[in-house]
């Protein structure tokens, strides 16, 4: 059991100051639904932590804004807020869906999208839609600023490339007007379930043909990614069950190509094919 100091800044500047001052000894608290569990379990990756920085009162980090081209989500926006936001429901429905399937009402009321991403779990539910949206993280430290695609901060299970003094200040993505989206999650029960697998899909149809498509399978790669081979295969073609089955197979082939045959592959291969195929069907609004 660690002795921890609790810090609660009211502004981003103060927060960044504290991150700078205690770099290497401080952990941001962005809802705590993972952090508190890990502290209770004496997680090795938190052994160095002496300060907990509660970001819940930093207004700059909360809320959802819509501009002509970009949607910006503050990292401290809760899953409940994301899943009920009219902006997200209209412009990125699959993200709202993913947020609505996180944990339980209590976890969704406390947990935030920033925390979901920065915790580094490949099973994070909002991760797949963010990667499909080509979302970017705006990252700041006291003296520097950078923007990185969401998928690039992942180093593997539980590890992200954030520096010891850095905070995510926003998650941004370009609007995808005219796309339809879908998110499907497979867990062992209907609530409080960690994704066994999931799939996020965004698709744009023009004249009955697929003009653009993004496919992000969740929990299948070491780090989250879209599957370009499967996407390319669909471009310019008319949606059909047969076509989407092929896309599902391309995704599972890619999974095996990247991670090899593992103990779970026997199960994951047919299941991710089903999820991808169904998500594509749903996005294309074809009855299965």
């Amino acid at each position: 059991m660690q002795d921890l100091h609790y810090l609660r800044p009211d502004s981003l500047d103060v927060a960044l100051d504290l991150m700078d001052r205690y770099a290497g000894r401080i952990a941001p608290y962005a809802g705590g639904t993972d952090l508190m569990v890990q502290l209770r379990e004496h997680a090795k990756k938190l052994a160095h932590v002496e300060y907990v920085l509660d970001l819940g009162h930093v207004e700059e980090l909360c809320g959802i804004t819509l501009s002509d081209t970009v949607i910006r989500i503050g990292p401290m926006t809760t899953h409940t807020q994301v899943s009920t936001s009219p902006v997200i429901l209209e412009h990125a429905a699959f993200l709202a869906e993913a947020a609505s399937l996180v944990g339980s009402p209590q976890i969704r009321n406390k947990g935030t999208v920033g925390g979901n991403i920065c915790n580094g779990s490949p099973a994070a539910d909002t991760l797949s839609p963010f990667v499909a949206l080509n979302a970017r993280l705006c990252i700041r430290s006291k003296n520097a600023e950078r923007t990185v695609p969401v998928k690039e901060i992942y180093l593997g299970a539980g590890k992200v490339t954030l520096g010891p003094d850095e905070l995510v200040t926003a998650i941004e993505f370009d609007r995808i007007d005219g796309y339809s989206t879908a998110f499907l999650k497979l867990g062992r029960r209907k609530a409080l379930a960690i994704s066994r697998l999931n799939a996020a899909v965004a698709m744009k149809l023009e004249n009955g043909l697929i003009a653009d498509v993004r496919i992000t399978p969740g929990c299948v790669f070491g780090t989250p990614d879209r599957v370009e081979k499967a996407e390319q295969h669909l471009l310019g073609k008319a949606p059909s069950l047969e076509l989407f089955k092929e896309a599902g197979q391309l995704v599972s082939e890619e999974m095996i190509a990247r991670t090899g045959i593992r103990w779970s592959t026997e199960y994951k291969k047919p299941s991710i094919e089903a999820l991808v195929e169904r998500a594509l069907m749903q996005a294309a609004k074809i009855e299965g």
Partner: protein, 786 residues
């Protein structure tokens, strides 16, 4: 027939959905659970577990832990005269047999200091070879876990059925089928982890422990045993229980013993509250069974031979396997009337967590195998499985595996009603013909019979006490405990019914071992059916005593008053002797049934009794007629009576992911007399969901003896969103053996659910899941992945 209903009831208080006696306290938050108690000067207690499955402690050094300020005691097995508890578990040990074994206990000022002390204790182990599966334990030359059992077979848990001539039966058979089914470790998952507080009572210095348990007296024995003092010198008081389901027995007893040791060592109250992880590591699990059945059937659908081997994995210690296996033995051929049966049941030691009592006490495991096997047998001879069950199921005057004749058997009525209500046969055929490759529906059934109470396992005896107060209120007390099942309510209803006073006048304090005779464990669904017999008896006696008091107090001595009140000429009753036997007590009034308008309030009789020094209380004891079964053949009477049930489950299976969605469950139960229909429905709803978890998602994953899933993120119980639509049918029938004709419901409520789900999954997919539970991987691939 389905529930008679209040209007047709011949009773005044029972047969009605009275509000729970403890309901108000629970919904307002006043009820005090084990963890709610805080005492001045209290310390926290903790344990250091080995974390190893088979090892010897070579050296243990506690000096660094003891040097931490605020750590007041660290004890190891060496500090105890007797580290082995009276029930053959170890309070502490230097011979580690499973990962939850405790090598040291700690008392400190805070939970944080407990953790620091745990880190500071230095232990050197020598790892020893272990055995974890039945196959490993039974292999030639396998490491031996207990010297007394050199082959790792627990010989005192071996039971058999030898009925008829099974070889002759097989010769008559047209079809012979053999199948194996396997069940998993399962956790009770009560919402409240174990919590105990031990203190010396300031009034008399008696070591007292408060905790939520199922057996207050059993638990008290641990206190006396741990301290090496007389039983009369220690005391146990029952806290409100946050769920138990069979799990708050031995392992809570061990915790109580440890807390008492620490309280004595430090001279201060000690509170021990297990974390969820600790609870998962320490508390008994449902026995995994390997079930092998072979049966012979004739073309016209009669089962003529039934053979079985039922082996249970008992883990590192004998936690009730030898008490549970008699039940598994009696029920080893299901709810069927078969002439030729030969089965063997025995437990095997492994270096896993120990298995113990868990709602059903072997029946959920057995039924998972048997009821699938019945479906498979019916299919093998091309017969509808409902018809097959009709032909073979127990009927009035039939004999189960024990050979004893059963009466008032309403199993077929219960089954036929449920089959019709759910449109089972039509759906079964429809679903079988599905061709959809994405998702399919399935429907499945299971039936059961269950011996009520302890039967031949051990004496089903209990004490009850009833004391009337001068204002007409009544305190009752029983040797059995409220564990959340509604025992207080049922007992209060029975006392009120028998004594003839309103239910609202009854109070029932929590069990205190100083106040009543040891009545054994509150388990085996025995509380209402058998345990309340002594309550009924005590209330009957007090009823007579109070009528007698009324007569002796001249309350029926004035014919003018009686005649006047009833509007009849006094001559009509003049000279009639009014005796206690003629009077009755009902709704809180004492009266002569022929002249009911003249009635004395029960409270007036009480008040007058008090001031004239009359008896106003009674203590009674009840033991049912002995059940005697031959050990070698299992023939004889195993239980006083049986409860019957039929469960039908409907599922939707995702054929491409293996996800089983339980859509609806219909459960029909024979309860004899429904003491409290609302509580019965509550038991059944809970039982359905518990059975659903067992059948679909729940599995304690054990790797080389270590429990891998230690919390509810990984041990998957159903949530509110997973629950199916539920239809409950309560059947009543005439059955004399239980109190007011009642039968068991706590365990019947859950036992057949997983089996019905497994049969439904087969209907949907055409593939049998013979290894419980029907998880994603098993349904999709036919096997678990690790």
């Amino acid at each position: 027939m389905p529930l008679y209903g209040e209007k047709q009831s011949r009773f005044n208080t029972i047969n009605r959905s009275k509000p729970r006696l403890d309901g108000f306290d629970k919904v307002t938050g006043r009820a005090r659970f084990g963890a709610d108690f805080h005492l001045p000067g209290m310390l926290y207690g903790g344990v250091l577990r080995s974390g190893r499955s088979s090892a010897r402690v070579v050296k243990i050094d506690t000096s660094k832990a003891l040097a931490i300020p605020g750590v007041w005691a660290v004890l190891t097995a060496k500090d105890l005269d007797k580290p082995v508890a009276w029930s053959w578990f170890c309070y502490m040990t230097d011979q580690v047999r499973y990962a939850g074994d405790v090598v040291a206990i700690i008392a400190a000022e805070s939970k944080e200091l407990i953790w620091r002390a745990q880190q500071a204790i230095e232990v050197e182990y020598e790892d020893l070879p272990g055995v974890y599966t039945l196959e490993e334990a039974l292999a030639e030359g396998a490491p031996v876990i207990h010297e007394k059992h050199p082959k790792n077979i627990m010989e005192d848990s071996r039971y058999s059925i030898r009925k008829g001539d099974v070889e002759e039966g097989f010769r008559k058979a047209d079809v012979i089928l053999e199948r194996e089914y396997v069940t998993q470790y399962a956790e009770h998952a009560y919402i409240e982890p174990e919590a105990v507080i031990a203190y010396e009572d300031p009034l008399d210095g008696v070591m007292t422990v408060i905790a939520p348990v199922q057996n207050p007296f059993f638990t008290r024995n641990y206190i006396a045993d741990a301290l090496g003092v007389k039983i009369a010198d220690v005391r146990f008081r029952q806290a409100t229980v946050g769920g138990s389901f069979g799990g708050k027995e031995e392992s809570t007893g061990l915790t109580v013993g440890r807390a008492a040791m620490l309280a004595r060592a430090t001279g201060r109250p000690v509170k021990m509250v297990l974390s969820r992880e600790d609870s998962m590591l320490q508390s008994a699990k449902r026995h995994p069974f390997k079930l092998r059945y072979r049966a012979g059937v004739t073309k016209d659908g009669k089962i003529v031979a039934w053979e079985g081997t039922q082996i249970d994995n008992s883990g590192a210690y004998n936690c009730q396997t030898q008490f549970m296996n008699p039940r598994a033995n009696t029920h080893s051929a299901g709810a069927y009337d078969i002439d030729n049966i030969s089965t063997d049941t025995y437990g095997v030691y492994t270096n896993n967590i120990f298995s113990g009592a868990f709602r059903g006490y072997s029946s959920p495991q057995l039924l998972f195998g048997q009821e699938q096997f019945i479906d498979e047998l019916a299919e093998a001879i091309g017969m509808d499985e409902v018809e097959f069950r009709r032909i073979n199921c127990l009927k009035d005057g039939g004999r189960n595996a024990t050979g004893s004749v059963l009466n008032n058997v309403i199993l077929q009525e219960v089954m036929d009603y449920t089959v019709e209500q759910t449109d089972y046969q039509k759906k079964r055929a429809l679903y079988k013909a599905q061709t959809d490759t994405e998702k399919r529906r399935g429907i499945g059934m299971a039936i059961s019979h269950r011996g009520c109470g302890l039967g031949a396992e051990s004496p089903d005896a209990s004490a009850a006490m009833i004391i009337a107060q001068m204002d007409g209120s009544v305190i009752i007390n029983s040797g059995l405990a409220e564990v959340g099942q509604g025992l207080k309510t049922a007992f209060a209803q029975i006392a009120a019914e028998t004594l003839g006073i309103p239910y609202e006048e009854i109070r029932f304090p929590n069990t205190d071992t100083h106040n009543i005779q040891d009545s054994g464990i509150t388990a085996a669904s025995r509380g209402t059916v058998m345990g309340s017999q002594s309550m009924k008896r005590a209330a009957e006696k007090l009823n007579l005593i109070m009528r007698q008091n009324a007569i002796e107090l001249h309350m029926f001595a004035n014919p003018n008053d009686i005649a006047g009140a009833n509007g009849i000429p006094v001559e009509q009753i003049q000279g009639l002797p009014f005796t206690a036997e003629m009077l009755t007590i009902q709704d809180g009034f004492v009266f002569h049934p022929d002249y009911p308008a003249y009635r004395i309030p029960f409270s007036i009789v009480c008040k007058a009794s008090k001031w004239t020094g009359k008896q106003m209380s009674c203590m009674e004891w009840f033991i049912p007629e002995s059940c005697i079964q031959d050990h070698a053949t299992g023939q004889g009477t195993a239980f006083p009576n049986y409860a019957y049930c039929c469960v039908i489950a409907e599922v939707e299976v995702d054929l491409r992911t293996g996800y089983v969605d339980v859509k609806n469950v219909t459960a029909s139960h024979d309860v004899g007399t429904a003491i409290n229909p609302s509580l019965i429905s509550g038991q059944i709803y809970g039982g359905i969901v518990m059975g659903q978890g067992y059948g679909v998602t729940e599995e304690v994953e054990i790797s080389k003896g270590r429990v891998r899933n230690q919390n509810f993120d990984e041990y998957i119980i159903p949530t509110a969103l997973d629950m199916p639509e539920m239809q409950v049918n309560i059947f009543e029938c005439d059955a004399g053996e239980g109190t007011y004709g009642s039968k068991s419901i706590g365990e019947p409520a859950t036992e057949a659910v997983a089996a019905a789900i497994a049969n439904a999954v087969y209907n949907a997919t055409g593939k049998r899941v013979r290894e419980n539970p029907a998880s994603l991987e098993r349904v999709l691939l036919g096997k678990a992945l690790r």
